[in-house]
Amino acid sequence: MTAEKMGEISTRLRAIFALASVAFVAVLAVSPVKDFFQSWKRYEKDYVSYAQTRPDTKRLLADFHPGIDQIWLPEMRVLDRCTTCHQGISQASLRDASVPQPFRAHPAIPHDVKKWGCVICHRGQGPATETSEAHETTLAWEQPLLPIRFIQASCGMCHRADLPQTPKLNRGRELLSQLNCGGCHHLQDIERSAMLGPDLSNVGNKLMRQWIYKWLKEPHTVVDSSGNTVVDGYEMEEEPRMPQFRLTDQEIKALSAYLTTLKGQPIEPFKFDQSVVASLQKSADLADQGEVRFRQMFCTTCHSLAVTQGDETKLIGGDIGPELTKVGSKVNPDWLVAWLRDPQSYLSHALMPRYRWSDQDLYKVTQYINTRLTDPDLLSNVPPLEEPTQEEIRLGQRLFLEKGCASCHVIQGVSPQKDFGPDLAILGSKNVSQLEFGNSNIPRNLISYIQAKITDPLSVNPAARMPQYRLTPTDLDAITTALLSMTGSPANSSLARLVVPRPESAFRPAGAFGELYDRYKCAVCHRFNGDGGNLAPDLSFEGSRAQLQWIAGFLKNPETLRPTLIFRMPQFNITDQEASVIADYLGMVTQSPSVKLSAVDQKQFTPQMAEMGKQLYEVKYQCNACHTIGSAGGYVGPNLSNAGNWLNAAWIEEWLRDPQALVPGTIEPRRSLTDQEVQALTAYVLTLKQKAPPLTTSSAGTKAGGAQ
């Protein structure tokens, strides 16, 4: 070959070079072209043409700025580009449902959308400018858009205190507390409730083994066709808190055997006064007398009984204490007597007040419970249970720990395992990759995981110890919302400042009153400074309202102020000394700042004023439409027959001027009364001093003071 040929390029190589060069340039142009057709640019173009079809085109376009729109909140570590596509988010005129997405405006909420951005509440990937990246779970973002039915969870991330606008979240938190989820799991802001399952240290004294067997097998016996929980044949408004554990027959036998051996402090049978027993045993209607006392003492304020009318069986009574229809088949009679005399000695946190019983009453009531409140069919399908064997007891003891029973039930000497269940305080911010789905075929996301874990724990983890809860779909969503709201403490102090903490229980009295407050469980029914029950009147300002002597008298003998109510204050048989302690405390502490007791002198009211007040009461304002005096009047407001002994003059005056200022939400109408009229009406009310017929324990059964 010639020397020059060494440098000559063949035609084939030239062709390859030409082809490769063309392809090279072409391929490099793909990415810029792709960039030009990005989806957010298309949305912006669509928005502009949509704005032109609206009546307020000019304003919409004035607010429109092409390019990527972002909300940057460095303190919260939020970078939010949602508004690049969701252009109309804060345009009030686009709030209508007919506006196509993604241009529709946000519904009105207390927060400024433009100031807070979207992802703080709705989750999703803020920096993304592509639909699927922004809304869905990706490798780079495991917090997808929160379905709108759980959106209240986001409120709960900062608003740890319940808000009126978030009923679902509040219900979920309530459920978490009620179901005692905190027994096994650590939960943000949900305090471990004092109302755990019963203390079982001495349960062998209380229960029969057959009943334990039945209960462990079917804590909620059945669910009827309409989805209501049916316990022992009648509907309950609420589920029993004990969930269904997965136990074999052998395990149930072992557990029931173990529990019957728990008799830490054997009870000594109470020795009734023999003369009382002897005299009462003769009477044929002993149980009937017991029933009358049972009703007179308003046991049904807290406890319910099943009543059958026609085909319908209903529970009548309160739901603070357990339902008692078949309690006679459940408990040991000696235990029942001991319990009624002193509930707290058996269960220190029992809600039941400690009554002062006379021997007669105690005997009658226990006889009534043991003979009438029974059901021979209840335990019919329980197999015959032999004496517990050592082996059964040992197995039962082991199961008690393994199944997590100790997380809700106390047994002295048995300490529950620490952190029995997983910590759920940051469940709401968990990534999908941190969750175990097992072999289940549910969608791989946090929400379906939570719901599967509650309703069917085995589906996601065959080795789960968690019991199965039966919740209505609404409650399930509520509890899911509450769990989703638990995203842990804020990452930094500037975020922490945004958190609205949950209020602590404000009313924790000390001293002699504190003891009585605890003993008689006042807060179960009454509210004090926003804390306590809703069943009975709020007593935050009781000292301003009522006269001390009246309070003391009422405590000893609760008359009926509002005759239409079924639930009334039980008769605690309080001593004189206790009554005066309570009255003094209420008089001293529970004062309203707007009622000045010392400013009104009783002596200033003259009979003439009272006469004028009577006229106003009866004629001008027709107060008797709602209030009763003596035997005449309405039943909407309280009975005023004894108001002169009951109410403070200053309270009456203030009340007449502005009732809602003292008790928000009261139905007492606010009338614009003149000062003279106020004084006249007060003077009149103070003259009303009719004693109601007293009810004492000794007057048993003769007068029907029955509630219903």
């Binding site: 020397a3 060494m6 792709k34 960039d35 920096p127 993304a128 400018t129």
Partner: protein, 251 residues
Amino acid sequence: MNTMTFEEILNRLRATRAWRSIFRRGPARTNRTRSLAIFGNVFLHLLPVKVREQSLRVRATYYLGTISFFMFVVLTLTGILLMFYYHPAVPQAYLDMKDLRFVVSNGVFLRNLHRVAAHVMVIAVFWHMFHVFYRGGYRPPHEFNWAVGVMLLLLTLLLSYTGYLLPWDQLAFWAITVGTNILSAAPFFGSQLRYLLLGGNLVGENALLRFYVLHCVILPLVAALLIGVHFWRIRKDGGLTLREDYERDKK
């Protein structure tokens, strides 16, 4: 016709004073000017003037060394562009990844290209080494260049590994944590070595900065230097060793 005019334009361009001041040789139509084109160019003079026809066949080398070098070039170019959008800080580094993905024009393409090229370079360098070994390219007089090649393999791995941390995502963090934990198993001063590399006991902002400097400055410079030596030594050691040479030598 068109080629003629194209050639005419080219010729006219070559005749200009500016052109001639840059390329002093005439058009490469003779072997002399072709040789001048190689050794008259600061970059090309590392290459030999003449090459054996056999060594240009695809099957002889699969161009693996060339591919490795071009990957280095692509990585340098894309890497420099990526540096415009990157801050070696926590968590800004990660947010920069998001910006590249969602805001920067062609940002995602740039990052993908860098990542793909990095993987291809590691594969190409390994393959190159094995291929050279099988055709006996490590034997004298190539032993020093072989050692340089082994160093370049290590540098490639280090470059890829230091770049792995920069996105500051879970993948990066844990890969580096796992990798540097191995270091602390070294005898005598293992944990000190790890501390030196990370600038702390954990993979944190200091580690990110160190890896950034290593990835963008130190390692590329050393690699570029060694690549120069490697090329130059190919020429000085008498060109590529082909399989045919090896098989022939065996007889």
